[in-house]
Symmetry: C2
C-alpha cells in the first residue's frame, strides 16, 4: 500500500500546529490574559490566522494531495487527504486579504459588542452587524454550491441539516412546548427556588464544580479549568481539553450546570482516538453532535434525580448554612424549575428550545433581507413576548446578550437545539441498549455511558460524519419526537400535571 508523500504529511502537521496555537492564544485571551493586552493580542491572532490560511490554501499542497489521492490508500489516509482538500476548496474561494480584513472586523465588532452590552446601546453595533451580515453573504455567494446563503452557513455547523429540515422540526417543537409551558405555568404546585440564589462562596463553587467534573470522568491532567466571562470549552488536542466557567455569587445552579455542560464537551475532546492526532481529523465531527454531548451531561444526566441524589451532599458540604434546612426534594424541584427568563444559557430545559428558535427565525429574516438590522431589537422583543410571555426591558438582556452574531457567527445557534434533539435521540438508543438506564444513573455508574460514547461517538473524530455516526446507532435522521416526549414526560411528572 502506498504511503502519503512526506511533504504533505509535514504540511498537515504544520497546519495542525497553527490551529492548536490559535486555540491556545484564544484560550489565553478569554481566560487570564491581561485586560490591557486585548487589542495587541487580537492583532497577534489576526496574523497567525492569516499565516494559517496561506498554508491551508497553498496550491502546491492541494496539487500534491490530488496526485496522492490517485494512489492506493488506506481508509484513514484517504479520509485525511479528502478532508484537507475539502478545506482547501472551501477556503481558497475567499481572497486572503478578505480573510484578514474579516478577522479584523470581527475582532473590532466583538469588542464593540462588549461595550454596547455594558452601555445597553444597540446603536454601537448596528453598523458592524450590517457589515458582518453583508460580508458573510458575499463570502457565501462566491461558492458555486446550489444553496441559499443562510443554508451554506448552517451547513458549516451541522452539515445537511438545513432550513428545509429545521423549519418543520422547530415548528413541531414550538407546537409541543407552548401547551406544555402553559400547563406548567398553571400547575397547582410550584417550586420555591429562592435558596438557589443565596450567596455561595465562589471558591466553594469551584470545588463543587471540580467534584462534579470528576464524577463524570473528566481527566484533569489532560485539561485545565479556568474562569471566564462567557463559558466555553476548547479541545486544543486530545491531551489538552480545557474548559472555562463563569461564576456569580448568587447562582450556584449556573456554575454547577456549566461545569457539566463544558465538561461534556471536554469529555468528547478527550476521548477522540489518539491515532488521529497528527491527521487533522482528531477533532469533533460537527457542532450539533458536539452540543449533543454537552447537553447529555448537563441536562440528561446533570438534571437527573438519581445524579443529584448522589451529589446533593456536596451542596451541604460546600454551602452548609444554606443547605442544612433544604430537603433533597426541594432542591431537585428547584433545580428543574421551568420559568421563562431572558438569558438563554440560564434558561430551563422547556424554554431553552424557544430561545434558540427565536434566534433561528431572526437570522433567517436577516439573511433573506426581510428584516433590517435597525429593526432587530424590536423584532427580538416581540418574539420573546409572543413565545415566552416576557419582554426584555433592555437590549443588554435582549438582542445584545450573546456575542455570537457580533463575532460573525451566523447559523451557529441552531446547533444548540439540534444538539438537544440529538441528545434525546441518543438517550433513546441508550435506553434500548441499557434497559436499566435510570438505575445506572442512580447507582453512579456513569463511566458506562462515557465508555459507550467513546466507542460509538467520540473516538471517530472527523473520520465519520455525524450522519454516519448516528446512522450506525440506527438513528436514520434527525427527529424532534424523542425530545418532545422526554420534555413532556419529565415535566408532567415533576409538576404533577
Amino acid at each position: 500500500m502506498a504511503t502519503i508523500n512526506i511533504d504533505i504529511l509535514e504540511q498537515i502537521q504544520i497546519i495542525e500546529h497553527y490551529k492548536q496555537t490559535l486555540a491556545i492564544l484564544s484560550w489565553d485571551a478569554k481566560t487570564k490574559g491581561p485586560k490591557n493586552a486585548r487589542s495587541q493580542n487580537a492583532k497577534i491572532q489576526g496574523t497567525l490566522t492569516k499565516e494559517l490560511y496561506s498554508k491551508q490554501t497553498d496550491k502546491k499542497f492541494a496539487r500534491n494531495i490530488e496526485r496522492s489521492l490517485e494512489k492506493d490508500l488506506s481508509e484513514l489516509e484517504r479520509k485525511q487527504l479528502e478532508f484537507h482538500l475539502k478545506e482547501y476548496k472551501r477556503l481558497s474561494i475567499i481572497p486572503v486579504e478578505d480573510v484578514h480584513q474579516f478577522s479584523v472586523i470581527k475582532a473590532a465588532a466583538h469588542g464593540n459588542w462588549s461595550e454596547a452590552k455594558k452601555q445597553n446601546n444597540f446603536k454601537l453595533v448596528e453598523n458592524d452587524l450590517q457589515i458582518l451580515i453583508d460580508t458573510k453573504k458575499r463570502f457565501a455567494s462566491l461558492s458555486n454550491r446550489n444553496l441559499s446563503e443562510y443554508d451554506q452557513l448552517l451547513d458549516e455547523y451541522e452539515p445537511g441539516v438545513l432550513t428545509g429540515t429545521l423549519d418543520n422540526m422547530f415548528d413541531q417543537v414550538k407546537q409541543a412546548i407552548f401547551p406544555l409551558l402553559n400547563s406548567i405555568r398553571n400547575a397547582s404546585i410550584q417550586p420555591d427556588s429562592s435558596f438557589l440564589s443565596a450567596p455561595f462562596l465562589i471558591d466553594n463553587q469551584i470545588k463543587l464544580g471540580k467534584k462534579l467534573l470528576n464524577s463524570i470522568g473528566y481527566q484533569f491532567e489532560s485539561g485545565e479549568v479556568s474562569e471566564t466571562m462567557h463559558p466555553f470549552s476548547t479541545g486544543i488536542h486530545t491531551h489538552d481539553a480545557r474548559l472555562a466557567v463563569r461564576f456569580e455569587e448568587n447562582n450556584i445552579k449556573l456554575s454547577s450546570l456549566m461545569f457539566l455542560h463544558e465538561g461534556g464537551h471536554s469529555l468528547y475532546n478527550q476521548q477522540i482516538s489518539k491515532r488521529l492526532d497528527t491527521t487533522g481529523l482528531g477533532v469533533y465531527t460537527s457542532m450539533g453532535l458536539h452540543e449533543s454531548q454537552s447537553i447529555f451531561w448537563e441536562k440528561v444526566i446533570g438534571k437527573h434525580e438519581g445524579f443529584w441524589k448522589n451529589h446533593f451532599h456536596l451542596l451541604r458540604e460546600f454551602g452548609p448554612s444554606i443547605y442544612k434546612d433544604i430537603s433533597f426534594d426541594q432542591f431537585y424541584f428547584a433545580l428543574n424549575e421551568v420559568k421563562p427568563s431572558f438569558i438563554r444559557y440560564e434558561s430551563d430545559d422547556v424554554t431553552y428550545p424557544l430561545h434558540i428558535i427565536i434566534r433561528y427565525e431572526l437570522e433567517k429574516e436577516l439573511f433573506s433581507g426581510n428584516l433590517k438590522v435597525t429593526d432587530l431589537p424590536d423584532a427580538w422583543n416581540e418574539k420573546y413576548d409572543n413565545y415566552l410571555g416576557i419582554r426584555p426591558r433592555t437590549d443588554s438582556e435582549g438582542v445584545l446578550q450573546d456575542g455570537h452574531w457580533y463575532g460573525g457567527a451566523f447559523g451557529y445557534f441552531p446547533s444548540y437545539l439540534i444538539g438537544f434533539i440529538y441528545a434525546a435521540q441518543i438517550r433513546q438508543v441508550l435506553m434500548r441498549e441499557f434497559r436499566n438506564f435510570d438505575d445506572l444513573i442512580n447507582d453512579g455508574k456513569l463511566s458506562i455511558f462515557l465508555e459507550w460514547q467513546k466507542e460509538h461517538i467520540h473516538r471517530f473524530g472527523k473520520l465519520k460524519t455525524s450522519k454516519e455516526i448516528l446512522g450506525d446507532l440506527a438513528i436514520e435522521k434527525i427527529n424532534e419526537e424523542p425530545l418532545i416526549q422526554y420534555l413532556t414526560e419529565k415535566y408532567k411528572k415533576l409538576y404533577k400535571l
Copy 2:
C-alpha cells in the same frame, strides 16, 4: 524624510507577532498547561520557532532592509532596521534544519533534566549535556567573529562583558566575599530564623505577594500572576508583562522575595516606551541590565529595613499565629541572614555571587575542554566545598538544581552577577541624585525610583545598548567596587562586625 518600505514594516510586524505568540505558548506550558499536553505543546513550539526563523532569515527581507538603510531615515527607523539586519546576520549563519533539530534536542534534554533531578541521577542527562555543548560550540564556530566560543555566548546575554572583564571582576568579588563571609560566620550575634519556615498558607502567600507587587507599582491590568515550578517573568509586549512564582508552604521568604524579583523584571517590561511597540525594539536591551532591575527591587529595596517597616504588618495580617510574637528587628535580621546553602535562588546576598561564580568557572572549563561532562558533578561539589564550605549531598541539590544548561543556555548565569553589580552601581547613582535615598524608601516613596528607572533605563527598550544607557548615567564601565562596598557596609552593620 523617507519612510520605510511597507513590506519591511509588515514583515517586522509578523516577526514580532510570532515572537509574542511563542512567549504566550511558553508561558502557557510553564504555568497552567496540562501535564499530559507537554509533549505535544513542545512540538507546537518547535514548529512555530522554525516558522519564525524562516521569516527572520528571509533573504528578500534582508535585501530590502539594506536598500532602505541607504536612504535618509529617522534615528528610530535606522535603529529598527539595523536591529533586524543584525538578527538576520546572526541567525542566518545556522541552517534552518539545525535550528529545528536543536530546539527538539533542547526540549528533550530539558525534559530529561526534570526527570534526572527527580531521580537524583546525573547519568540521565550526561549525554544530552555533551550534545548541547558540542552543538553550541559548532554554532559559535560558524560565526566569523574574532571571539572564543564561550565569549560569543556571553556576548548574547550582555554584549561586550566577556571573559577578559569577568575573570578579574569575579576574582575581586571572591576576594572580598571570602573574608566577609568568614567574619559573619564567626560573629557573636546570629539571627534566629526558624519562624521563617513555619507553615504559611499558600493562599495568604499569594495575597501578601500581590500587595508587595502593588507597592512597587506593578500594573495588574497589563500583566498576570501565576504559579509555576521555576519562577520567571515574561514580557510578551508592554501591555502584557507576566510573572510566575513558586510556593512552598514552609518558605514565606522565598515567595515574597520572588514576587519582588520577578516583579522587578516586569516593571522593566511594562515601562518600555509604547512607541517601540511595533518596531521590534520594544524589549529589554540586555540580560544583565534586565537582571539589575529585578535585583534592585528584590535586594536593594526588598531587603531594605525601611521597606519592611512599611510592610511588616502584612506578615502579621496574613500569618497572625506566627508573627504575633515576632518583633520587627527579629524579622529583619532573619530576612537578611547570611548562611551558605545549596540552592542559588534561595541564597542570601553575600553568598549569591559565589553561586554564580562557580557556574561561570565551570562553564568556561566545559567550553575550553578542560573539564569533561562526566567530571562535572565532582567539580561542582568541590567548588561548593571550597567556596561555601558545604558539599551537596545529592546532584539534585548540586549540579542538577538549575535547568539552564539542560535547555542549552550557556553564558547566561554570569548575567545574574553582572545584574547585581549593575544594581549596586545604579544605587550609587541614585544616592547621588537623591541625597535622601534611604528616607524615600523609609517613607514608601518608591514611585520616585520607578519613574526614574522609566526615564533613564526602561523606556529605551533596545533603542540604546546597556553600555549607552549606563554611560548616560555616568557609569563608564562595569565595576564591582560598589557591590563590594554595599555588601560589606550592610552586613558589617547588621552583624555588628
